[in-house]
Symmetry: D2
Subunit: 279 residues, 4 copies
Amino acid sequence: MTMEKKTLLTDCPDAIGLISKITNICYKHQLNIVHNNEFVDNTNKQFFMRTELEGYFNDKTFLADLDHALPTGSHRRLVSSERKRIVIMVTKEAHCIGDILVKAYDGTLDVDIAAVVGNYDTLGKLTEKFDIPFHHVSHEGLTREEHEDKLLACINQYEPNYVVLAKYMRILTPEFVSAFPHQIINIHHSFLPAFIGAKPYLQAFERGVKIIGATAHFVTNDLDEGPIITQNVIPVDHNFSAKDMARSGRDVEKSVLSKALGLVVDDRVFVHGNRTIIL
Amino acid sequence: MTMEKKTLLTDCPDAIGLISKITNICYKHQLNIVHNNEFVDNTNKQFFMRTELEGYFNDKTFLADLDHALPTGSHRRLVSSERKRIVIMVTKEAHCIGDILVKAYDGTLDVDIAAVVGNYDTLGKLTEKFDIPFHHVSHEGLTREEHEDKLLACINQYEPNYVVLAKYMRILTPEFVSAFPHQIINIHHSFLPAFIGAKPYLQAFERGVKIIGATAHFVTNDLDEGPIITQNVIPVDHNFSAKDMARSGRDVEKSVLSKALGLVVDDRVFVHGNRTIIL
Amino acid sequence: MTMEKKTLLTDCPDAIGLISKITNICYKHQLNIVHNNEFVDNTNKQFFMRTELEGYFNDKTFLADLDHALPTGSHRRLVSSERKRIVIMVTKEAHCIGDILVKAYDGTLDVDIAAVVGNYDTLGKLTEKFDIPFHHVSHEGLTREEHEDKLLACINQYEPNYVVLAKYMRILTPEFVSAFPHQIINIHHSFLPAFIGAKPYLQAFERGVKIIGATAHFVTNDLDEGPIITQNVIPVDHNFSAKDMARSGRDVEKSVLSKALGLVVDDRVFVHGNRTIIL
Amino acid sequence: MTMEKKTLLTDCPDAIGLISKITNICYKHQLNIVHNNEFVDNTNKQFFMRTELEGYFNDKTFLADLDHALPTGSHRRLVSSERKRIVIMVTKEAHCIGDILVKAYDGTLDVDIAAVVGNYDTLGKLTEKFDIPFHHVSHEGLTREEHEDKLLACINQYEPNYVVLAKYMRILTPEFVSAFPHQIINIHHSFLPAFIGAKPYLQAFERGVKIIGATAHFVTNDLDEGPIITQNVIPVDHNFSAKDMARSGRDVEKSVLSKALGLVVDDRVFVHGNRTIIL
């Protein structure tokens, strides 16, 4: 056996003594708690705990002990510290994909970019600069279903842990989404729930807002309605045309998306209903 | 004649040479430009200029010269530096009114609070600590129209320049609003246009947003749809209940409202369509 | 015995199994953990835990059990949920004291303001509007030691939990500070450690910074060098004179100070060396 | 003659009627003012104006008319809308250079990156992905003067408008700096003037600050003391080690640097004494 680092993620109905029970089992298994965070959602009576552990793991007996101790309806996962594999979907804009490529290149983002898939070929050259395969899966002349079948075939060969929509500008069907439950991360270029749907910067300009933003969220079947992971904003004023807003918004979009991606691949994000708990 | 300070506000269709024409007239009248800001809305081809002037004013000839020089459809106002008079409307929450009372007391806000009007008497004691008249105009047992007639009668005796809704929690009718065109400033406790209407913090909690905010805007007939003056936000996370959000939001609400009020009474806010230009 | 809420604050050298040991003792005493936060400072190998408990307390046996379980060099406190008593020291500026007065008045800040002490009488009228005793303890004609003796005599009669310097513009001697170890909270009107000492806004103006800020910290013997509790900033630009910065900074100063005060009276702030841990 | 866009930058002692004089000359030359911004520094009695013009330029007669109208001690420049050429200096960190490379690639930053020069070869591969020449000018075994002579020889062949220090981690001599007056832009990884000099994140960690930041500034002879162009900050807390701060700071550093670079190449930045005016 070798010394390993793993993360235990516990998500269960709240009950008295949970922290004590879980940490006792860690103690019994001689696993050192490097970092621990827990949260109790008092509204929904739900308990969440993220425990970074170090030691010699016997996964089977450790999880069996946990299952014995935890209440009915509990979910627990013991995640290895292995690097996550992602596939990125894009259309034409370079800023988000560019940021992820550079961050993966210099180690800021600890991910393995398996491939990039675009419905246009615009970003092929940029992707290939980083020695990552680019697949051009055009939607032209295809029904939505035909197109998504091709996308799925392309993506699935890489068996990604997560699919990242880095300004992929087409709506996905429930069928596609259901293939990756809570595994698709999207960046929406507004401070959701303001300006749902198309052309959020134009909407923001027309409404005369003084702040614009971006939202990274898991994709569910309801357009722009999935659980929010991160958001950020920047001030704007009357000097900004809709185009200026779009231009200024790029830095926010990319930093929000890569921050969300970092949290997800670090196994810090729990989803409960339509909300995220980040531990 | 005595040396005076006045502010010229010009709002007109854009044309070549406007700055030159207006500043020439100032120069001809020996008025020193202390501060000048202009903005051209290229989408709507509209020109805005705010000019702080110092000198010996002959308002009549100065404005006549301007009217002669400016294109058809121009608006210009020459505003004295006299302190603005406001009436504040409240319901039960103390933070916004409390902030304005303290800021007017110590001179941070250069306004004359003529009176405070509440549909409950909750804030009477606080108001009177600052030697400002408080009027309790209850809505109970009255139709909306009867209540607003009483409010109008009460407010109008003070001839205010602006009416400030400092967490006044009732909807106003178009009749009331039309009595004070672009003179009513409201604070809405969300980052508009997200969470229009009632209980925005509860809506924000349920949507699971990671940022909450507040919006100060002029009141028009469309609820929460008037021109936005200022907005600000603060980060929140899964630890915040709806109640925690409301509590944390208070500091944002009050600073956004008093910032907007400061801009308005400094004659810095132009309204064009549903947008504000702040010079 | 009645059901009570108390907060356990533990601060000790890090060791394996601490969370488990402490939560086991809570469990054994039938105390429900309402909220728990812990932090391990890996650099200094120090463990911090804040545990909100609910139940029927036998303080003596509970603490004895803890003392038995915790390693040598541990500090633990069991704090009742009783409201904290503060004395506020001021000079002439109204914004910070005004904010605390309004927030204590409307319940946003859960503190009992026992008294306000000023070295000028400027803020007496404002304080007394809120039915709080104001003491004018002038420094004129006194040595620093004589003045502080008078201040101490005045303050000590109220036996405050904390002393809040709400823009008290005089330096305190080590003797005065040592009378209230980690009990004096100051607001410094800069983003420390930038612009230590006098006239920070003038310094900021002269340096041409694009952001200004405020810092709330515990007072130690080294001027402006104590452990930082909260900081915040606002953007400025070339349009801001030093005076404009000071004016705009007021909202940041007051919100930073009252946020820090709220954290302290909620027993959320641990001090370790010159750093704070906020749980 | 063809229709052109140029920007007039005026920087002169303040005097009555300046706006009127300058705009009259534009009018006389049939040059349309697309955008105009001016600022008067009342402390130093200095006038700044940035005027975007469109029309048929006769530079010689236009500038002669201006020189005739402006007071003694005036500076004015008429800048063509041609894209600026930059040389970037780096050491080993990829985030700032990566951001500029991607932004120049996708057109977000309107600059021509002539070359990248590194004192290590670490970033050669990344640079060359974007088909930009990389020069490895090692400092090893050389005196500072010898190294800078080599750097200058390398840089000067590209005749850059600006030199960008994108985390170039060596101090430059006054001789080097004087070769590019107000043409060298540096990113410092702290919120200046806090944490001048080496290892600012370690300093920030040790001081226990709650906010960290980054500063882009022109390089002058005094280390980290040059005129500040842009600054930004992010919140941190006790969970952040010095290393975590450094990691989180990268996004701020890169966005601050590329924002500053965008302002400079748009001819928006005036320097007066040690302050910048951004119009």
